[in-house]
């Protein structure tokens, strides 16, 4: 059993997907947030809805944790799961090159095609100078980000970390995903979920929800391995799991089999956010922490999987 990690604050933003210039549904909130963050500098205009949901989620997580903004210190960084969320930006950038040759290459859009741009935008706006990482793991990108953050905290490399996932699922991505028979197919949409994480009992800001354990797996028994590793990490026996919630998964049946095979007999609920790929796992974690099973705060197992990147599982317990 390893030390539980406190989820001191969470920021959740769900919104329509969309392209630059299309209303993201958060206009007034976003304007107020940006005005607060840039009151001493030049105004900032975000270029894509994925940046909008990320910035709003970070603002919410830090606000709930009582962290001053902008923070301007290197003891707080961000670990972010990002993958399909920038595919639309990349496609439109390259279509410009195809249409007009070198003149169609936009120097403004090109920097947004690198996966770490969202983390960079967050770091610049919020003054987060600590360890900053971006991981690409498809459906489990947000899970892997949480896993990296949990390990960095437990191993003493950071005292506080923002971690989670962000996405903007566009129509073109869904079409391409369906072409290769992936399970991501759903509705276009955007979303972000980030947690401010700190070690239980450390000087981290107060908050009752806890991430008790995390595990990953890869290969033919990826989900089984992730669940086993996660329960072991949390020190929670299978019989103590009070509920199971799935994020985006590659193969629903293998998840059900793995859960039952682990000796967990409780109901398995699908997260309503499972279409939000990279953000789906953190969103499912937030849902699990916020919705007590059977009226009591019992450990909830969250499971996600990706057809390429393997599986991830976490055990979460909501605050008393």
């Amino acid at each position: 059993m390893n030390a539980p990690v406190r989820m001191a604050g969470v920021g959740i933003v769900r919104g329509p997907g969309g392209r630059p210039g299309e209303p993201g549904g958060h206009a007034s909130r976003l304007a107020a947030t940006l005005a607060t963050l840039t009151r001493t500098g030049p105004p900032i205009r975000l270029a894509h809805p994925i940046e909008e949901v990320a910035v709003l989620a970070v603002h919410e997580a830090l606000s709930r944790s009582g962290i001053p903004m902008p923070y301007q210190s290197d003891d707080l960084g961000v670990v972010l799961g990002v993958e399909e969320g920038i595919d639309g930006i990349k496609a439109r950038y390259y279509q410009g090159v195809l249409a007009e040759g070198p003149l169609g290459a936009s120097p403004l859009t090109f920097p947004l095609t690198t996966p770490n741009t969202i983390a960079a935008r967050i770091s610049v706006l919020f003054g987060l100078r600590g360890e900053t990482l971006t991981v690409g793991g498809g459906n489990v990108a947000g899970a892997q980000a949480l896993g990296l953050a949990v390990r960095a905290l437990r191993d003493g490399y950071s005292a506080l970390t923002l971690a989670g996932g962000v996405t903007c699922v566009e129509q073109e991505f869904l079409e391409a995903a369906s072409l290769v028979g992936r399970s991501e197919s759903g509705q276009p949409g955007g979303g972000a979920c980030l947690f401010l994480l700190g070690l239980q009992g450390s000087a981290s800001p107060a908050g009752g929800d806890r991430l008790l354990g995390y595990g990953e797996g890869f290969g033919p028994s990826d989900v089984q391995d992730a669940i086993r590793a996660c329960l072991e990490d949390a020190g929670v026996p299978a019989r103590a799991v009070g509920a199971v919630r799935t994020a985006a998964v590659c193969d629903w049946r293998s998840v059900v089999q793995a859960v039952r095979g682990a000796g967990i007999g409780v109901d398995i609920a699908r997260s309503p956010s499972s279409g939000l790929c990279s953000a789906s796992f953190p969103l499912a974690v937030a849902e699990a922490a916020g919705q007590p099973a059977s009226g009591t705060r019992v450990p909830v197992l969250v499971v996600g999987s990706d057809c390429l990147a393997g599986a991830a599982a976490a055990v979460v317990q909501g605050g008393q």
Binding site: V82, F110, P111, T114, A120, G127, R129, Y157, L179, E216
Partner: protein
Amino acid sequence: MAVPEGVVVTGLGILSPLNPEGDRERFWTSLCAGEAAVGEVRSFDASGYPYRVAAEVPRDRLRRSGSQDAPALRMAEAAFDRALEHAGIAPGTGNPRRAGIVVGTVMGGTIAGERYLRGECAGEGEAAGALENYPLRAIAAGLARKTGFAGPVLTVSTACASGTDAIGIASRRIASGKADLLVAGGVDAVCEFSFSGFSALKVMTADKVRPFSRNRTGLALGEGAAFLVLEREGSARRRGAVMLGRIAGYASRCDAVHLTAPHREGRGLAAAAAAALCDGRCRPEEIDYVSAHGTGTLYNDWMETKAIKAALGSHARRVAVSSVKGAVGHPFGAAGAIEAVVCLLAIRDGLVPPTVHLEEPDPECDLDFVPNRARPMAVRSALSLSAGFGGQNAALLIRWAES
């Protein structure tokens, strides 16, 4: 908290424009001889661009073993296989759940995406094949499937610091006992997508890359892959493996000032370097060699010089610093991993590779940049620095290990 001294490198594999066949000794000999592989772009038609040079691995060497959609995966496979072979690890040995892969990449399978968007895929089957190779995570997944590794399989994308971060993350995972064997490194391939972007940003050279030089003209894209086999020292000793060095410290820091430009004073890079030294309980004066990010752009060269001075203090003027990007270009996600290999080989052979094309030093870059000729010298501790878009900075402390 420090990475314990116990994380060692027991194998390395590298494929670059200097050694397209993947022969690491050829890479090292060519690099130390001052050879440069930057030349006319051949992997796509660059005739419409104002800049037309890059450092490439001839594609015909890669097609022999795979599809044209996935040169990055083919390069990664070549370097990965050689790293395992060098470490003396046969596929299928050990507990697969305790073995894994951490890959740093920026572009991933973008070349497959280009082909899809160009409408070059004949039919849905071919389009599906291209899209299978496209995702960032496809490379790590492909390597893991091939080897049967079932432990951590991670893809890190932190711009030009990706390879360094991948190795750093893997070394922590080994140190904490969460894995027994990790193969970590980076890969990226030259493609029109990235070439057009850097062309639009006007940061590329039209001829040579001249890091730290007054007559610098910018960077050249490069490509390649490099992987290190990491394990705990005890495990390496038990199986009689040769230890090539230790990953003794690692840190990542963000500038938090701009999406593309670095902090002018090198604040983030200095902080990462200082934190990596602290992580490895290493004093600045113990550093013999710094493998610089050294892209050959004005802002990078100036800020990096300042960062090294800030991190090493007065010792900065005594330490040997060199950049290999004049020789191999800038291979993005592979850069940090290639430079980690350079540090390990410098430690092994007591030889520091040169900064090529450094005829006219920039007065603002007033450190010992080992101009044009390799230098024989004992290297027991080396610092490998990486910086990238988004203010990403990472540093690895690599130290000698007694086998």
